[in-house]
């Protein structure tokens, strides 16, 4: 029987402070570049008529940069509630896949810890957590540690941006817009499993680029993720 790298069934899953701190430490680079984005969001929110406190509250409760930026584009009076909720759901669809990927390990944590942690799941700490699981480490608090740090930074930087809006120059001038891409690339490099990675990743990239070109918003992430992951199964099955 084929033994894959991530054998979820036998290993013990822990949830410790040490794990959380490790997660937080790993998220520090993400958090530093995230501050720039938070500042930008806070500033834009101010321009759309939100107060610094309101913007910060949104960041604290929603914790999704993509959704928040998109919804800001819809901001009008009266608020188009249906459009806002629908946009949020669509933007968040990839979270279904991400949550499912955490499933095998997280299903062995007590419900409160699992569902509580996942509130703080963002692309970056999710990707780092999957990297940890890939290496055989099984501390469920890793996600939460990084997530809490990110949530804190996101909320604070939004507030600062809202309060002192206009103080941030164009992040692209400093290459900071590339920071997230760089982090994801490092994680991808770590996930390389040799030949079996080629097909799914090529498919994911192709579908993603095509979807990005033809479809609005964030569909490209979900579609690329689905296409690539299914391509990964097809290869295994044959």
């Amino acid at each position: 029987m084929e033994q894959n790298d991530t054998t979820y069934t036998e290993e013990k899953v822990t949830f410790t402070l040490a794990g959380a701190l490790a997660g937080a430490r790993k998220c520090v680079p993400v958090v530093i570049s995230g501050c720039a984005v938070g500042l930008v969001f806070g500033t834009l929110a101010g321009q759309a008529g939100l107060g610094a406190g309101e913007a910060a509250l949104m960041s604290a409760l929603v914790f999704s940069g993509a959704a928040q930026f998109l919804v800001l584009g819809l901001w009008a009076s009266p608020l188009p509630l249906a459009a806002i909720v629908l946009t949020t759901l669509v933007v968040g669809l990839r979270h279904l896949l991400m949550g499912a990927a955490l499933g095998p390990v997280f299903s062995r944590l007590p419900r409160l810890k699992a569902y509580g942690s996942v509130y703080f799941m963002a692309d970056e700490n999710w990707a780092l957590t999957m990297g940890e699981f890939d290496k055989g480490r099984r501390d469920g608090a890793f996600l939460l540690g990084g997530g809490l740090l990110m949530a804190l930074e996101w909320t604070i930087s939004t507030f600062v941006g809202g309060a002192f809006g206009g103080a941030v120059e164009d992040p692209a001038r400093w290459g900071l817009d590339f920071a997230f891409t760089a982090i994801f690339l490092v994680l991808i490099a770590g996930m390389w499993k040799g030949k079996s990675s080629i097909l799914p990743w090529v498919v994911a990239a192709a579908v993603s680029v095509a979807a990005h070109h033809w479809l609005p918003g964030q569909w490209y992430i979900l579609l690329g993720g689905l296409a690539g992951s299914f391509a990964g199964v097809v290869r295994r099955g044959s």
Partner: protein, 91 residues
Amino acid sequence: MALATYATRAGGLWLANRFELSERAGAWLDAIPGAILVSLVAPTVLTSGPAEALAAVAVVVVAVRSGSLPLAMATGVVAVVLLRALVAGLT
């Protein structure tokens, strides 16, 4: 909006807990992280322009050789700024 976002986060976990994992399902779940990460970066790396594409190569090279995420990230940021300036200067 907060509820909708949390619903997507919790939903995936809930669904995964409900179904027994077959080997195929396990393979699918295994493939998701890589596929999503690749999908996240592909448009930027492949269609933004030469500066981003080359900076991406630099990031991967530094990542593989140094094993340091902050170093690779810094490399990418610096590289993209320099390359963008170079491209702008050449065109």
